[in-house]
Assembly symmetry: C2
Homo-oligomer: 321 residues x 2
């Protein structure tokens, strides 16, 4: 169904890395009240940064490309990438900038995650930054849907690169359309795999996964894969004229931390597709790993749960047959 992947397994995630200051509260605050949080922690965040964490945990050779402020948070962020085996050699360090920060309120009562994001002066990755990266090692390049004009140019550079290669060595491109922003639509026709969030779907007026896939497929290039996760309802996906495939969600007994759940789904689905799994197996794998994530706090406990990503994939395939 999805094109055959080469033996390379380097996956590059392009997008934002920020500091998440996570406050765990017993319940989401009522406006104009004071409360004490149960716990506060620093966590590396940003969609692409999270994608690379999950890919690293699954055992992929993952790399992150994005800008990072030359502030006192830099050491924490780079050390944390290293903890998950994510290559950050290509990261663009920006002098005199402040770290992009998200304040995250995690509610123990509802497992919701509410985010207030702040970005003072950290520049976005430029096309020049991207053009300086040797693309040869990569099998897959995933782009976070932001910084649209530049990212569109970057995707075009990847397509230029592909032109000189035999089809089996093409770099696959994917993009995540997460935020409810109309300008993100411009990225949909450019890539091989499109991830569309429920937020974006609702913003576009789609009321379920099937409608979303139909609508986004019409914008995507022919033959592109469109994937749509829908929270507790699981995920669906389609490719070209083939029939839509679906997976249920795999919620854990206790949902404790949904921060990064979408990033986990996307990364795990990419991991499976990049290893040649079928589209149906891949989104079920994505749902299963996302389900494991929301059952634990942060990323570290996933290490023990996931073990080897390729072994898990084989298990997934055998469960499906």
């Amino acid at each position: 169904m999805v094109r055959i992947m080469s033996a390379r397994e380097n996956i590059l995630c392009v997008g934002l890395c920020c500091l998440d200051i996570v406050s765990l509260v017993s319940h989401f605050p009522k406006e104009d009240t004071d409360q004490r949080c149960l716990e506060q922690r620093w966590q590396r965040g940003g969609n692409a940064a999270n994608n690379s964490t999950v890919l690293g945990l699954l055992g992929a050779k993952a790399a992150f490309l994005g800008t990072i402020a030359d502030s006192h948070e830099k050491r924490f962020l780079l050390d944390d990438f290293a903890k998950y085996g994510v290559n950050t050699e290509k990261v663009v360090v920006c002098k005199g900038c402040e770290c992009s920060t998200s304040f995250v309120i995690l509610s123990r009562a509802s497992a919701s995650r509410t985010i207030i994001h702040s970005n003072k002066n950290l520049p976005e990755l430029s096309v020049d930054d991207f053009a300086q990266v040797d693309l040869t090692p990569y099998q897959w390049i995933h782009f976070e849907g932001r910084n649209v004009a530049n990212v569109a140019q970057m995707i075009k550079l990847v397509r230029e690169h592909n032109k000189g290669l035999p089809q089996g060595e093409f770099i696959t491109t994917s993009v995540e359309i997460e935020k409810a922003k109309p300008e993100l639509e411009a990225l949909i026709p450019l890539v091989d795999v499109v991830f569309v969030s429920k937020d974006f779907a609702v913003f576009k007026g789609y009321s379920n996964m099937a409608e979303t896939l139909e609508g986004v497929k019409a914008m995507a290039h022919p033959g592109a894969v469109v994937v749509c996760p829908w929270g507790e309802e699981g995920a669906s996906a389609c490719q070209g004229s083939e029939v839509m495939v679906c997976s249920p969600a795999f919620p854990p007994a206790n949902v404790v931390d949904t921060l990064g759940a979408g990033d986990t789904f996307n990364a795990a689905t990419i991991f499976a597709l990049a290893h040649g799994s079928s589209l149906e197996d891949s989104i079920r794998f994505g749902c299963r790993i996302a389900g494991a994530k929301v059952g634990v706090i942060g990323w570290e406990p996933l290490r023990g749960l996931l073990g080897s990503g390729t072994l898990l994939l084989k298990k997934e395939a055998s469960l499906a047959t």
Copy 2:
């Protein structure tokens, strides 16, 4: 009405100093959404720390006493005290501790301030710490209502100190009962001036300022002053058997930042009382300065608005007559 104050004008504020990470948002977030803030800033916070800022702005010789973590935020916090002329010589620096932090969400739409507080391991001020402070320079010592067992002992030390002095040189003690916590009640009978917040009043089942004053007066020592600010309704106060006095609020044309409004009221009222103003003039002065505060963002713009606190007090007295 209030006892005559001496010529000393050193006012010591005892309580918490923390880092406020303030995010200005267009509207208070709905649970489980993402949004970008309009602005994010660091600000020194904590009730007693804020009290001392306002006293410094009014021109009092203000000092702060509390614990402070020996973390990288320390320099920021101490420099910021210095900016407002607040003496921090007595501050207790705690090695190996993390800075107490409040995440504050300011809504531009409603001017609300919602606080999520985190305190990992910063110890409270001990009775020993307090006992080492020479109380002689102080005319007034204000305690933030927290750390109840220790603060009760500290107040007793001040009363011991007063025993050896002529009545005109007594150190006046005050306490702010702000949080809806039953254990704070134990501090009410110990001091000369009690500030009771609307939050605490509502928690006690009082439905307006008059009820609150009656109820708290019964717990306070005979002759004590009880002051109760009530947001947009202004403030009321009473002393012993004398009739209750009231002040309206003085809201600015645009309310933009209510963070620290209560601290401002308390500090300005203390400033007025410490300068011998009548109880009625003092709470009206408190309401007026708090009204000025909520019309500006942060503390710095108050500098120009306030000018000399003693001149403002004279103006207040002449307006009243």
